[in-house]
Amino acid sequence: MNSIIFSAGARILVALLLVFSVFMLLRGHNLPGGGFIGGLIAAVGFIVYMLACGTTQAKAALRVSPEALAMVGLLIALASGFVSILFGDPFFTGQWWWVGGDSYATAVVRPNTVLVFDVGVYLVVLGSIVSLACAFEEEV
């Protein structure tokens, strides 16, 4: 696609989509969103970029191969499930901590394994969708 308007607009759109995908990832615990939908939105961002500037540029923008990204994501998701072994809980039991503030409710940051799992899912979805799109794009 050689439209100047599209390729100029794509740059802004991609940035917006990527930021939005992170936003969706982070709000996912109690509200609609999460790793899967976030990963999809990020993948859409890269696909828009791919349509505007070609697969080579899009892959360069991703920096690592999408397949490896998906695999690392799977490993992160799997590892987050194993954290609970340290606390004597069954596999994949969410572990929550809090930093700052007096109680869980008023804490500043609440690190947890659930978010780590969601990040893994995010990477798996992003990696696999982008690699699928690349395969289609390159064959045509």
Partner: protein, 502 residues
Amino acid sequence: MSWLLVFPIAIPFATAVLAYLWRNGAEGKWISLAGSIGSLIASGLLMSAVLREGVIAGQMSNWDAPFGITLVADYLSAVMVVITAITGLATAIYAMGEIEARLERLGYHALFQVLIAGVTGAFLTGDLFNLYVWFEVMLIASFGLLVLGGSKAQLDAGIKYVALNLISTLVFLSGIGLLYGLTGTLNMADLRGAVAAVENQGLVTVIAMMFMVGFGVKAAVFPLFFWLPASYHTPSFAVSAVFAGLLTKVGVYALMRMFTLVFVGDVGFTHEILIWVSVLTMVTGVLGAAAQTDFRKILSFHIISQIGYMTLGLALFTPLALMGGVFYLVHHIIVKANLFLVAGVAQKLTGDTDLNRIGGLYKSSPWLAALFIVPAFSLAGFPPLSGFWAKYLIVMASIELQAWVITFFALLVGLLTIFSMTKIWGMAFWKPHPDGIEPVPERIPAAVRIPMMIPIVGLAAMTVGIGLFPEPFVQFAEVSAAQLLSPTDYVDTVLGVRGMAP
């Protein structure tokens, strides 16, 4: 305790990731091998815990059943997990010789490990929707393995395979939806009570038939088996061995689980259908094999006919029959995977799998001939090999019920199996090679030959071992059948009524 249930699934997944990241070098196959050994150890630990404690259940994420995902292992699940790990290890060793670097770079080892994870997950899950997810994991991985390399025949086979399996999954998924609408739960143990409490049992029977069709396609029973012989002869031999050994058995396992645990309200109807489906599966499979002249196609049709024996064990629904069914399941995985592995070596030695174009193996490679005889005659049910006991139990069960027609067909199919095996023997081993080639073992370089022969020897030794010392295996199958027929322990353990050691 619940961690024992997790490791047999998590290890292959982790191995898949690592094998993929190191797919370009020689590390990939060693990672795959190490992962397979790890899985075998994990499943061995699970088995010993099940032998010690009876049924084991674990609630993933600490959400109690019936709301969370439950993993559960009774005798049947545990033995299936162990046998999966054994087959996985055997094919992982075999693949070190057979699979070329080109396929490794495409991610062969990763897909293979994901397939093993999917199969293991399907055996361990106690939740119907989760079972559907494992079926999908298996389908994706097996489709990838089937078309890996991308030859025309493979793509043709892949389309048939994936289309028919998707239809089966769709029927299965619709059944899950209807069942959930009817009972409000998908936990298998919880379903047992919930399904029995449904007022309109006619609806339950309809849903049961949907499950029978869905799992029937996976298990390749008559008349839904046609995808199997259309696809199993195309991929590499390590892949077809693991497909032949494990994939259809997941369908049989799912049938066994659902039709002993959940759908037992109208046994006279559902299991009666299953009896005739089984008999027809046995007969059509073995007749189909008689018409083939390709090594792997003959074996593929024999998978179908043997599946009939296993579902027959379920369909007759007596303790002895189910015991035979469980024993058959285990014996057949070992034997069938081994036969495909032998076919791979034969192809490497003679250059083809078409029986008309090969020969001379007995004269040049007598050891391979001896190693073929063991699984082939075990498949046909010769004493003292494992297949004899498996067939003996099924036939005894049908005699016990005085079902003479079924007995007749079970024996007849055994006889026809010998016919096909002697055909392979006569054409591939006895007659001289039509092109005058002498298929001596040295035709394969030692670095390829040795890893290909190790699993064949190992699996053949297991076949002989089970045949000579069937006592512990028969006893195991007996307890397993008793657990299937009265799953109180299963239900109580999953729903947390029966306490477990922490």
